[in-house]
């Protein structure tokens, strides 16, 4: 299949560097500049962490004041985020209780078609079947839904067998059921979800949309991770948001990913990490100006086509597509939070240590999204049509996000004690040295009240208890949140630092597929 012609692309998207993945794709000054950008996040994080240690040794009083200020900041930040979380929880529950069929009845939406792209690799048929089964039961005219089961050639026979199996069961239920097999070893591509999805999108365009004269502007593409299980009103909710959006063709639509498909089987540590990710997305839903698309999301086919689909040469394509769209549309593109859930899998391997390794690797891949910061900063320096204020604000917001993700938990739970241990005898004799652990501890306990909110909310988001699970598990699920300080360090800060350090050193990561099993 040949690459799409360039004339459908937005003017900025026609640039050679529009789909840049890493510095090595450039030469000369641009390469140097992009390489500096790649080093920036890692350097900032390492300088911060080492700086706190040096402050603790050489100016422990200043370090102690900084630690107190930081702990206080953390308490207030927790309160701020908890407020957003609680608000979104109310909105999410309300949205789940609404009759969206009735809500969209005021619109004429029969002309809208939905392309559902389900990229998969070696996931078992049970996982794929579960997702397709839920898709076949949505409250929507299934004839308007085009399912694209996007497998990988490198998965071998598995792709053929599973695709055939699913086609036999589900093809008659939907308007179209397309199987695409992404060829392996295409030059310039990285093996991963982005390249698979882009291949599938082009295939659906040439084989279904164009032959059936379906308008790109009236076709919504939903790209779902293969473990995504839809709630019945997803498409009605999506259509409602599409029709009520100020500029629907310049918007992406982001549901809330709740990692609860297998929540009763997953170990406590996995549940905490998974639910924390959900909570972060819920918080972001209430401050959409900071949002980028994440994991499963929806977007018009026209918007995708105008930027040449997902990037095929990098890891975190789910967020990158938003930044592609933002810079190509000169800053006039946004994410609309749907506050409606989709269910996905929490990490669960047969053994606990395997689960822990999986969580670490998955979060390292997610936090490798820091490569997007380089992309943003680079194109913000190139595309002067984006308002300067927007460029500055977005850059600072994204930079702060990646910096705080890595540094905050380590500073708070580990380096907060550094002045006490590194401050020397002179500092040790002071009231400040003795009071520091108490003040910080008390502030952190105060911040932990945010976890109570998390605990309550999490219990309302889990599916019904299976018969084999005891009621005691509810109690465990309530108190599992005390693990948050540890999970923040080991599954957020350290993988984040790992990812940033790799990018800083030019040890680029590939796409690691999280194993799914049920």
């Amino acid at each position: 299949m040949s690459a799409p012609a360039q004339n459908h692309l937005l003017p900025y998207a026609r640039r050679d560097d529009f789909h840049v993945g890493r510095a090595t794709e450039f030469t000369g000054k641009k390469r140097f500049f992009y390489r500096c950008l790649e080093m920036l996040p890692g350097l900032a994080s390492w300088i911060t962490l080492i700086g706190v240690v040096l402050l603790s040794i050489y100016v422990p009083f200043v370090a102690a004041y900084f630690v107190i200020a930081f702990a206080l900041f953390w308490v207030l930040k927790t309160a701020f985020l908890s407020y957003h979380l609680r608000y979104n929880w109310k909105r999410l529950r309300h949205h789940m209780s609404l009759d969206w069929t009735k809500m969209v009845s005021r619109f004429k939406y029969n002309h809208i078609h939905h392309v559902v792209i389900l990229p998969f690799y070696k996931e078992p048929a049970s996982v794929i079947g579960h997702s397709l089964e839920a898709l076949s039961k949505v409250n929507y005219d299934l004839k308007k839904i085009i399912v694209v089961l996007a497998g990988e050639e490198r998965a071998g026979e598995h792709t053929q067998i599973v695709s055939q199996q699913m086609q036999e069961i589900y093809s008659a239920k939907f308007g179209h059921f397309l199987v695409s097999v992404h060829p392996k070893d295409i030059p310039g591509e990285m093996a991963g979800k982005g390249s698979n999805a882009a291949f599938a999108a082009e295939k659906v365009r040439t084989e279904i949309l164009d032959p059936n004269n379906l308008s790109y502007e009236e076709t919504l593409v939903s790209i779902f991770d293969i473990d995504t299980v839809l709630y019945p009103d997803y498409f009605n909710c999506l259509v409602w948001h599409f029709f009520t959006a100020e500029n629907p063709l310049k918007s992406s639509f982001q549901p809330v990913p709740i990692f609860n498909n297998n929540i009763w089987e997953a170990p406590a540590i996995s549940r905490v990490v998974a639910m924390s990710s959900t909570f972060w997305e819920m918080v972001q839903q209430e401050r959409p100006e900071r949002m980028a698309t994440f994991s499963s999301h929806s977007v018009s086919f026209q918007a995708l086509y105008e930027v040449g689909y997902w990037q095929t040469n990098m890891v975190s394509e789910d967020s990158r597509i938003f930044w592609n769209l933002l810079v190509a549309n000169n800053g006039k593109y946004n994410v609309i939070p749907m506050s409606y859930p989709v269910s996905m899998d929490a990490n669960a391997a047969p053994k606990l240590w395997q689960t822990i390794v999986q969580i670490y690797k998955q979060h390292r891949r997610w936090t490798y999204g820091v490569e997007n910061l380089c992309y943003i900063l680079y194109h913000f320096s190139q595309n002067k049509n984006i308002p300067l204020k927007q460029r500055i604000i977005v850059s600072l917001q994204q930079a702060e996000g990646y910096w705080s993700l890595v540094t905050n938990p380590i500073m708070l739970f580990i380096l907060g004690w550094a002045p006490i241990f590194l401050g020397g005898q002179q500092f040790h004799q002071t009231v400040l040295s003795y009071n520091l652990p108490f003040v910080v501890r008390d502030l952190l306990i105060l911040a932990m009240f945010g976890l109570v909110i998390s605990s309550v909310i999490s219990l309302t988001l889990i599916p019904s208890r299976p018969e084999k699970a005891s009621r005691f598990r509810y109690f465990v699920m309530a108190i599992q949140w005390i693990m948050v300080p540890a999970t923040m360090i080991f599954f957020s800060a350290i993988p984040g630092l790992d990812a940033q350090t790799r990018l800083m050193l030019g040890k680029y990561m590939g796409f690691w597929v999280t194993p799914k099993s049920r």
């Binding site: 009083f61 102690a64 004041y65 107190i68 200020a69 206080l72 900041f73 207030l76 309160a79 701020f80 407020y83 957003h84 608000y87 979104n88 109310k90 909105r91 309300h94 949205h95 609404l98 009735k102 809500m103 005021r106 839903q285 209430e286 401050r287 959409p288 939070p337 506050s339 005898q425 002179q426 004799q429 002071t430 009231v431 400040l432 040295s433 003795y434 009071n435 520091l436 108490f438 003040v439 502030l443």
Partner: protein
């Protein structure tokens, strides 16, 4: 139809943000002032902010009560085996540390603003606690004590929680031999032999030798320590009947009681050997300046022997601030820390004792009766 709940409005988010920012700006100085020791006196006639200090008291005893200037302290931050008291006025503070059935430890310590005064309290049992080491034990493992004058004397001034029986007969055929007894007996014999050898050596070197006719002045030989005991970086020795503790550690590792940030008493001024290092105290939160207090350290501290003759001395097992003094009327535990008086608590009374510190235990022989003196009341 619209969803009834709309997204969080920007004005709401801004209001929360600015409110929390205001809370941060207002409360940060309060937290920092509090952490550095500033306290606001709400009950004073003229409300005033005072720079206070703190006290860190280590104490091994359980269930201790701490009194500062005769008032019990209740707002104590407890570490493991230590208490941290904050918000103390910068002045001389009289500290009592007491616990049921234990000696009370009392000391006057100077509290300085922004500084934590460290001290170690100790509380020995009021009634001596011993564990008899007898030659025989019965089948149940109880020590067999023969009713002698000495054993009666010992139990008139000490108590034990160890299992023992008083033997009415001297027959030993049904009893088991306690292997600890001969070892201890040998250890005491070796100690006494060593003491005698040392005394003879000192006598010999004190005998008049050939001297030049012009030699004048007192001999320094008598000032040579008759015995010296070392542990870690501390040296304990006798000099002209007095006991001294010398610090051999580097400045960094010098125990806190060798140093003071206050002017030392006149009689100690000559012993000040280093004053160059200074404690930097952030005292500038209100005045925005920094005060340097000179830290003065000595190399040796004289132990208060209460005008009694020292028979023997040793380090207290497992504690670098305490020493054991065997005086003419018993064995005492005395602290080295000489900021105000040195607390001395009698561990065991007696005038015919031999003391031995071995394997972290304090062992005593009173005539033919041997026992271990315990420094805490055993918990049953």
């Amino acid at each position: 139809m619209q969803p009834q709940i709309t997204p969080l409005a920007l004005w709401q988010r801004k209001t929360i943000f600015w409110s929390l920012l205001l809370a941060f700006v207002v409360s940060l100085p309060i937290f920092i002032f509090y952490a550095t020791g500033y306290r606001y006196d709400f009950f004073a006639e003229v409300p005033i902010i005072t720079a206070t200090g703190g006290m860190y008291i280590s104490a091994d005893a359980e269930d201790i009560a701490i009194y500062i200037n005769e008032k019990e302290v209740t707002n104590v931050r407890v570490f493991r085996q230590a208490s941290y008291i904050q918000g103390l006025m910068p002045q001389l503070q009289r500290v009592h540390v007491q616990a049921p059935s234990l000696h009370t430890w009392v000391k006057e310590l100077l509290v300085q603003p922004h500084i934590v005064t460290e001290t170690e309290a100790f509380n020995m049992p009021l009634i001596s606690q011993i564990r008899p080491v007898t030659e025989f034990s019965n089948a149940l493992g109880a020590s067999v004590i023969f009713a002698t004058t000495t054993s009666q004397q010992v139990f008139s001034k000490a108590t034990t929680s160890a299992l023992y029986v008083l033997a009415t007969s001297s027959a030993t055929s049904t009893l088991l031999v306690n292997s600890e007894f001969p070892k201890l007996k040998t250890a005491f014999a070796e100690k006494i032999a060593a003491d005698l050898t040392r005394e003879n050596f000192i006598k010999n070197i004190n005998k008049p030798n050939f001297t030049f006719a012009t030699t004048t002045g007192t001999s320094t030989l008598v000032e040579i320590a008759t015995t010296t005991k070392s542990r870690d970086d501390l040296r304990l020795y006798e000099k002209v009947g007095d006991i001294y503790v010398e610090n051999l550690a580097s400045e960094k590792n010098t125990p806190h009681y060798f140093c003071s940030t206050e002017p030392l008493p006149e009689f100690l001024q000559s012993e000040v050997v280093q004053a160059e290092n200074a404690i930097m105290i952030e005292d500038g939160l209100l005045e925005n300046d920094v005060v340097d207090l000179p830290k003065k350290c000595r190399t040796e501290i004289k132990i208060d022997r209460q005008n009694k003759t020292v028979i023997d001395f040793n380090f207290f097992p497992g504690n670098s601030n305490l020493i054991l003094l065997q005086l003419e009327d018993g064995i005492y535990v005395v602290e080295i820390d000489d900021r105000s008086w040195q607390n001395a608590q009698r561990l065991y009374a007696g005038d015919d004792l031999d003391m031995l510190v071995s394997g972290g235990r304090i062992l005593v022989r009173e005539k033919e009766f041997m026992f271990e003196v315990l420094t805490a009341i055993p918990v049953n």
